[in-house]
């Protein structure tokens, strides 16, 4: 069983839950940016949690099925076509050999997920099938898909067509995104007024937004004046090079904040002022160039609460899918 890539879309990669080891050597986790959509896609086709899927950014691919199978599309809101006929997203469908999956233009969100029964069966690298394009590791030949690629699919599964997620549980990606942030790290480098203003600013996603990180525009940050410590470099935005958590927000030059996401650079010399909570990384990953984003400060306890809520929401989605199959 294989998927034939007829058109690759803008940036389509193989992703799963990502890596849990390697950060200490500079290797980011990678993995699906929108965890909820990723897990629901697998649940719809009956894959075990952790199976690899395709993540499609902004513009969907065109894919041919070499054999009959079951597939589902979740994530960003865009028309899904099977042989040119519109079909329902957030639902599993049967494809016959020779069928072609295609997409219309994006309405909201940024990343769609395609799960196929059996999962995308590329060789795992460091415990994961996720693609890390910056170093050409993992996924399909370490890169985004191209026309003509033949993607192996796990053979032992036929999947379950006809499953769907109730509309009430489908996330809405339209409107401004709100990203909850635990303030900390070197936030003391920013003046209190400026830090407060940061959280009241409507930031806009710039064209410089990808799996490594998103750059925003819309405000200025004012640094507390100081004599720079030894080894930090002369710019007030510089610190002695330090580890960057996934989701951390740095502000080179004080003008354009960068939030690091799943393919983050793991460290560097810019002051970081806080970190997007783990359950909101997927919200950032569904924004695109020009979208409005607000950052909202929360306590560590609120971040842990949000983590539980995200888990409960996914459990509810899985139950609802089982109940309707």
């Amino acid at each position: 069983m294989a998927l034939e890539i007829l058109r690759p879309g803008l940036m389509t990669t193989v992703q799963d839950e990502g890596r849990t080891q390697g950060y200490a050597l500079g290797m980011p986790p990678s993995g699906a940016m929108d965890r909820f959509s990723y897990h629901v896609a697998n649940a719809l086709v009956g894959n075990p949690s952790g199976a690899a899927v395709l993540e499609c950014t902004y513009l969907g691919p065109e894919i041919g099925f070499s054999q009959a199978t079951t597939f589902a599309v979740t994530g960003a809101d865009l028309p899904v076509h099977l042989n040119g006929k519109e079909i329902q997203p957030w639902a599993s469908h049967r494809a016959e050999a020779g069928d072609v999956l295609g997409f219309g233009f994006l309405r909201s969100g940024a990343r769609a997920y395609i799960a196929v029964a059996g999962g995308i069966d590329v060789e795992p690298v460091m415990g994961s099938r996720s693609t890390y394009t910056l170093c050409g590791m993992g996924g399909f030949q370490g890169r985004a898909l191209r026309a003509g690629d033949l993607l192996p699919v796990g053979a032992d599964a036929t999947g379950t067509p006809g499953r769907s997620l109730p509309a009430a549980l489908v996330p809405d990606f339209a409107g401004p995104a709100e990203l909850r942030v635990v303030v900390g790290l070197a936030s003391y480098r920013v003046t209190p007024d400026s830090l407060a203003a940061f959280f009241e600013t409507e930031w806009q996603v710039t064209p410089d937004a990808n799996r490594v990180g998103y750059r925003y525009r819309g405000g200025l940050v004012e640094w507390v004046p100081r004599t720079q410590p030894r080894g930090a470099g002369s710019d007030p935005a510089n610190v002695v090079d330090i580890g960057y958590p996934i989701g951390s927000i740095q502000i080179p030059g004080g003008t354009e904040p960068i939030a690091l996401l799943n393919d983050a650079v793991t460290g560097g010399g810019y002051a970081t002022i806080g970190t997007i909570i783990s359950s909101d990384i997927q919200v950032a990953g569904q924004t695109k160039t020009g979208d409005v984003t607000r950052f909202c400060p929360v306590s560590i306890d609120a971040a842990l609460g949000a983590r539980q809520e995200a888990r409960a929401r996914l459990a509810k989605a899985r139950e609802a899918i089982e109940a309707r199959s």
């Binding site: 170093c135 330090i242 580890g243 958590p245 783990s278």
Partner: protein, 304 residues
């Protein structure tokens, strides 16, 4: 707002324990870089790894800090911070310890054609477009010639004080007294290209670029041997795709084009191995007699 969230409004006095969202704890030991603070980070991260505390996913050494990736479903971040504070309190003398490590021969071809071409291509992003990176750095650090400056860079090994940015980049802090530390600024605006295996310097740190990519460090030369190998076919990569390990001592050695080409050929045919020696590094000895201690390390590596 900051008071309500328990956030620092003043620069930290002493160690700064801070949450990176719900999955990370960053421990900033000092705002300033020094050999002492990196030794503390090396000792604490090794001690933490030995403890194997539940809920710790990964431990990441940094120059003047360290970072822990955690599973907050196993351990509450606030509880773990207390455990990290206890760990710090249980250790005090970071010079009298002994670090089991390796000293490695890292050949470098200085003023090579590839980095020279890159340096010329991005002159408009540099502080001094009229000089090469090497001439600029030699002048800035008070050396009379680029040869003397190169001699200084290869005079003593660099302690690998952090690995990252992109996979396997070794940040090296040279084992010389503070007054002999080389320090250079980064490019005014980062380059969009740096060749694979370029040898560079930024701030107080030497570095090797593992793969082609953007970068802002001053470019001085080219290493013939790889530091990353995803296919893991070379001897030194059997255990990991990354050659550098935290705490390694990289002894940079100036080579000529002939040796560079020889090493490249051995890398291509798969027979290349780094020359290295295991050793116990006792910082107290180095602080007491830096030049003699370095000479003894180099003798261990190269023979008398």
């Amino acid at each position: 707002m900051t008071a309500r969230l328990g956030v620092l409004t003043e620069p930290p006095r002493g160690t700064h324990y801070t949450f990176g969202g719900d999955e990370w704890i960053v421990v900033q030991l000092s705002e300033a870089m020094s050999l002492d603070v990196n030794l503390k980070a090396q000792v604490l991260t090794r001690a933490l790894a030995e403890k194997a505390l539940p809920g710790i996913v990964e431990i990441c050494l940094s120059n003047a800090s360290y970072m822990v990736r955690i599973d907050p479903d196993v351990v509450r971040p606030t509880v773990l911070v207390e455990q990290l504070r206890e760990l710090e309190a249980a250790h005090s003398d970071f010079r009298s310890i002994t670090l089991r490590t390796r000293i490695v021969d890292v050949p470098v071809l200085f003023e090579d054609e590839w980095t020279a071409a890159t340096v010329q291509r991005f002159r408009d992003r540099h502080q001094r477009p009229d000089l090469t990176d090497l001439e600029f750095a030699a002048e800035l650090n008070g050396y009379g010639s680029t040869d003397e400056f190169i001699d200084a860079m290869v005079s003593a090994p660099a302690l690998v004080s952090m690995i990252g940015f992109v996979p396997t980049v070794p940040w090296g802090y040279q084992l010389v007294p503070e007054e002999r530390q080389i320090e250079v600024p980064k490019y005014v605006r980062p380059r969009t290209f740096t060749p694979e295996r370029a040898f560079a310097w930024g701030g107080a740190f030497s570095a090797i670029y593992p793969v082609d990519g953007a970068g802002g460090y001053q470019l001085f030369g080219m290493c013939p041997a790889p530091i990353v190998q995803p296919e893991q076919s070379l001897h030194d990569f059997r255990e990991s795709f990354s050659f550098p390990r935290p705490g390694d001592l990289f002894n940079y050695r100036r080579i000529e084009r002939e040796e560079f080409d020889e090493i490249r050929a051995r890398v291509t045919e798969g027979s290349f191995r780094y020359r290295l020696a295991e050793l116990d590094f006792t910082p107290a000895e180095w602080f007491a007699r830096p030049d003699e201690t370095v000479a003894a390390m180099q003798e261990l590596l190269y023979g008398a």
